[in-house]
Symmetry: C2
């Protein structure tokens, strides 16, 4: 598995790392039990501070994507077995929607706004049902 960084993109390095690991998991390039590069090793390869890699790993663990074992290393979680299949179906839904929107001439930003509006509507609806807003 190959990880790359874009130092000048303005996107935080630790987020770039998280994104790439997630994407690798979703596409199947990384599977449950696979070991990730060591914090120090990866930091050296990418010429960055180990703390930054550590932060990416820590947050990935918090999201349940990976598992950190103290003296051993970082591994893809075991509980992600059936996830990819569901992901495929769900991806199809989003893909079809995005294709139609792009065909209608919308830009990425406009599509994002559309989604945010829709999510806002749902939040409002929930609030009216008496649910707590997180």
């Amino acid at each position: 598995m190959i990880l790359r960084l874009n130092q000048s993109s303005g996107i935080p390095l630790y987020l770039q790392l998280m994104e790439q690991v997630k994407h690798a998991v979703e596409t199947g390039a990384l599977r449950s039990g696979d070991q990730l590069p060591t914090i120090r090793k990866l930091a050296e390869d990418l010429v960055m501070n180990p703390n930054t890699v550590a932060r990416a790993y820590r947050e990935l663990e918090h999201e349940g994507i990976i598992e950190l074992r103290h003296g051993s290393g970082a591994f893809i979680s075991e509980s992600l077995a059936g996830v990819t299949k569901v992901t495929r179906k769900v991806q199809a839904v989003m893909q079809s929607a995005v294709e139609r929107l792009v065909a209608a001439g919308l830009t990425g930003d406009e599509i994002r706004r559309l989604l945010e509006n829709e999510l806002a509507v749902l939040r409002d609806a929930k609030r009216l049902q008496g649910a707590e807003h997180e």
Copy 2:
């Protein structure tokens, strides 16, 4: 038209203002030619610095949503006439997709990631066609 702010949400005030103006335009609460509140007036009503309102207005102008006239005030652009009808259709596409995804148990964040992935795929596809990345 009523504008409100959430001081403690962590979302920048000027973005909250922009969002609400955009939403009002999309829902038809504001129409082409309508005058918006004065920068100072709105700043006073909402207990914030006029510069923050000015920033929101400036960026809305840059996006073509409103038009600023120096000694006069701020007005909704004239060129937004047919926009809302297209918006309706396009909203329906997104709404249907989001409903299905929520029904599948996905959270807002997960749906956002799904969209970002899809947009990334499109960007990559375009790049391979030789198009320039903005």
